[in-house]
């Protein structure tokens, strides 16, 4: 397949991996922030290609994984309201709340429907003017523009029975929170690809300038990831700390102006927003501006709004921070599987646990640990 196979060439991958190994044998911890990168890393066995001294830490870049239990309960509460058609992306339907999930709510009679975009939800609202259609908006700066544009369309078309339950979050404050965390000692970052197509690379300058860490914005094919890791390691060896753009075919320095204009018009930052596993991060969530109050589900519905503690057995928090690996969670692969998830990291395809489970990483981890111990 053109323009995809070129980025998956095995011999090039091997050469890149050899170059990385040649650069240094110093133990390094690199974090890939984006869940899409986590998925690629596991799917293509990138960790197997990397030398044992380079360890990939999987960050909190999975918006489904970081949505807290309380917000899931709020979503279910809205879905159960009479007359509501509740629309959501597919993977959110199985994310457990404190006692149930949206799929079970659907089975119990709630009208919950899977959509592929907020525009689909708007179409449903136009088709059912007698029902209140609510769209569960979540995701980083990648998906927030589509929600913003949809709301602008709803306002323009005067679709008054359409609302958004906004759970959009921003990755840059989370990146700062990770850098400020005393638990984590990350040597470099594989920067988010899709988010960067929207916000550009300029917002990451502080990572290099103030924290002295290299960050390379990466694409999603295996050679993109390997080249990005190579660029990070080379910076470390050369004692540089810069923001580089490996994904130049898509990402521009200043990002997508139109997308940012739409988000700026529709959304404003929340004072703080809770991230599962990371706690509350200041100015990391989005809500609708007052000018869009008529489409704001949080103003229209009374939701529980509680902070719910994660289940005792669930260690998604530690996994999202990169402190633990999925297989180190006591319930990974036993009580918590993709079929019977306890935590959200096992539900979303971008979650580290689901990726580990589906691509069988467990045996490889033991081999790498043994190789490092021998060195």
């Amino acid at each position: 397949m053109k323009f995809m196979d070129e980025y998956r060439q095995r011999d090039v991958a091997r050469r890149l991996a050899d170059e990385i190994a040649r650069l240094t044998d110093r133990p390094l911890k690199l974090m890939e922030v984006c869940g899409g990168h986590t998925h690629t890393i596991f799917k293509y066995g990138i960790e197997d290609l990397l030398p044992p001294n380079v360890q990939m830490i999987h960050g909190p870049g999975c918006p489904v994984c970081v949505i807290p239990l309380g917000r899931v309960d709020d979503s279910i509460s809205i879905a159960l309201e009479p007359g509501v058609i509740f629309t959501t992306f597919g993977d959110m339907m199985r994310v457990p709340g404190s006692s149930t999930n949206l799929l079970d709510a659907k089975a119990a009679g709630a009208d919950v429907r899977m959509v592929y975009s907020p525009l689909d939800a708007l179409k449903i609202a136009k088709k059912h003017p007698d029902r209140r259609v609510v769209f569960l908006a979540l995701g980083f700066e990648t998906t927030a523009p589509s929600t913003a544009l949809t709301l602008q369309q709803a306002a323009k078309d005067r679709v008054d029975n359409f609302s958004v339950f906004c759970n959009h979050i921003t990755i840059v404050p989370a990146l700062k929170a990770i850098l400020d965390s005393p638990d984590l000692k990350i040597d470099g970052f594989v920067g988010p690809g899709h988010v960067s197509t929207v916000i550009g690379t300029r917002p990451y300058d502080f990572v290099a300038r103030e924290y002295g860490k290299p960050l390379v914005v990466a694409g999603f094919e295996p050679l993109d990831i390997l080249q990005s890791v190579y660029m990070i390691v080379r910076q470390i060896v050369e004692r540089r700390a810069e923001v580089e753009n490996q994904y130049g075919r898509v990402v521009l320095r200043d990002g997508n102006r139109r997308a940012m204009e739409a988000m700026f018009e529709v959304f404003e930052p929340r004072e703080f927003f809770e991230w599962r596993g990371l706690g509350s991060i200041a100015r990391s969530g989005m809500r609708l501006r007052a000018s869009y109050a008529a489409w704001d589900a949080e103003r229209l519905f009374s939701v529980p709004g509680l902070r719910i503690a994660d289940p005792k057995a669930c260690q998604c928090g530690e996994i999202l921070k990169g402190v633990k690996k999925p297989w180190e969670c006591k319930v990974f692969g036993t009580a918590c599987t993709p079929e019977t998830p306890i935590g959200s990291c096992m539900v979303s395809s971008e979650g580290a646990c689901a990726a580990y489970y589906n691509f069988g990483r467990l045996s490889k981890v033991a081999e790498r640990a043994a190789a490092m111990a021998e060195k």
Binding site: T170, V172, P173, K176, I199, G200, R202, P203, F206, D254, G255, R257, R258, M260, E261, M263, F264, E268, P269, E271, F272, A282, R283, M286, G305, L306, R307, I308, A309, D310, K312
Partner: protein, 229 residues
Amino acid sequence: MSGASDDFSRAFYPFLHEEERAPEEITDELRFSLLEKARESVAVKTRFFEEQADAILDAGRILARAFRRGGKLLVCGNGGSATDAQHIAVEFMHPITVGRAALPAVCLANDMAMVTAVANDVGVEHVFSRQVIALGRDGDVLLGISTSGNSDNLVRAFETARSMRLATIGFAGGEGGRMAALHSEGKLDVCLTVPTSSIHRVQETHVTLYHVLWDLVHTILQDRRGEPA
């Protein structure tokens, strides 16, 4: 930087532009932040008291009955909850309201020599249960405070207290942890859980709770119509 990306960055990543902000803007934000936290604290407390009113009354009656019959209160917790335990003991022993009797209450986190001796010689999980064994009597009350509900030394203290026929009351947070499980199993008489994962909100609610409980106990003691059978 283009206008759009600049506006967006200033709005959503303000920490990247701190040096450009006026001091009064930062003050406004701080003011908003503290008011939001206060609002949340009030909301958590209101919900807790509305939902747990009957259980709080039960706790009040248990305490009043114990004091009326000559018993005492033993109270314990770890860290911040230890300071709450100290505060509770002082409230009962040194009432600030005229007309309220001084009632016997002992904080099991007070005696550093005792706590460190047991922790050092036996294990921290026994620091409270050992004191319950020495100080507790049939008819006393043990009150344990834990924001997670999972403190091992509290669970052991409750088990010891129950075996000695003390009444038991727990203050917990989150989902109540092991203390809530003990209550479900009938091994903890009352468990008052603040349903939030924010430790600060749990602690703030606990502080209000024990002040309310103190007042409730005295009200019950002064009105013999409320005396349990």
